[in-house]
């Protein structure tokens, strides 16, 4: 079992603390997105919404020339304008949708998963204001008598 102690930081650096016996430390930079869980339900809703929007916009783009056709069946639409219509009616709104969706989902994606009681705790031990060498200190520790305290479960 590995220990991390404020007195013996692993992979970080420490600075002197104004109070003796307590050493602050700071670990290296981590990417909070590394442990994100993709929520299937919200993801499907988002993808489905984007797909429906895209299909609707494509259909609207294709129907626009027909709706605007008032020349008695003779089309005067420039064939090269279809791509431009697609660009304006599909890609630009799609880009807006994606940007808004990302902005809406960003706080949830960046938030660290909250502890849920009953779930396993896969992390290494973390000891605040512990001994400088936790493993050695625990190995030679002999519990003394006369201690007090309390116990609880949740």
């Amino acid at each position: 079992m590995r220990y991390r102690s404020s007195g013996a930081p692993y992979g970080g650096w420490r600075t002197a603390d104004p109070y003796p016996g307590v050493v602050r430390y700071r670990r290296g930079v981590t990417l909070p997105l590394r442990r994100r869980r993709f929520r299937l339900g919200s993801g499907l809703v988002g993808v489905g919404g984007l797909a429906v929007s895209a299909v609707g916009l494509v259909g609207l783009a294709w129907s626009t020339p027909a709706l605007a056709d008032d020349s008695g069946g003779v089309s005067n639409l420039d064939p090269t304008s279809t791509g431009e219509i697609l660009l304006r009616l599909v890609l630009v709104p799609l880009a807006f949708v994606i940007v808004i969706a990302l902005l809406a989902a960003a706080p949830r994606l960046l938030r660290r998963p909250r502890y849920r009681p009953g779930t396993p705790w896969p992390y290494d031990p973390l000891w605040f204001a512990g001994p400088a060498r936790p493993e050695a200190a625990i190995a030679r520790a002999r519990p003394a008598r006369g201690t007090g305290g309390a116990s609880a479960e949740w």
């Binding site: 670990r27 992390y123 200190a137």
Partner: protein, 142 residues
């Protein structure tokens, strides 16, 4: 898995600040262990407390085992005179409520502050004669 991922940098700073402040205000040594114990949580907490060496007599060790949902508070002989077992149990109640709601950091900080306030009040009052060798039971343990 790196331990640091269990808490954000801000949460670690918050806990460190609470521990530092409590130690400075009371003169006791507060220490917080968050992790899975080896064997009995109480026995492991007492080993951790003893591992603090010369500070053990004035030390208050709080063991939080999120996996097994155990909480242990161990006070050294001198610390237990200023923080009676009943106060430890009361702080444990508050911490337990926060942990059950998923707020580990908040529970730890609240518990440390409550323990420190108890120790400080006792010191101002001239030191209490409470405490003792037994540890109070809270919930179904001990």
């Amino acid at each position: 898995m790196p331990s640091g991922e269990a808490f954000t940098d801000g949460q670690q700073r918050e806990i460190t600040r609470a521990v530092t402040t409590a130690s400075a205000e009371t003169g006791l040594h507060f220490s917080i262990f968050v992790g899975n114990p080896e064997g009995s949580p109480r026995d492991y907490a007492e080993r951790l407390h003893a591992a603090l060496g010369r500070k053990a007599a004035q030390a208050v060790l709080v063991l939080v085992a999120p996996g097994g949902r155990h909480l242990e508070v161990v006070t050294g002989p001198e610390a237990s005179r200023r923080i009676p077992d009943r106060a430890c149990a009361l702080a444990g109640l508050s911490m337990r409520a926060a942990f059950a709601g998923g707020d580990l950091c908040g529970g730890i900080v609240t518990g440390v502050r409550m323990l420190a306030e108890t120790a400080g009040a006792r010191a101002i009052a001239g030191g209490g004669a409470h405490g003792g060798s037994a540890h109070a039971a809270l919930g179904s343990r001990h």
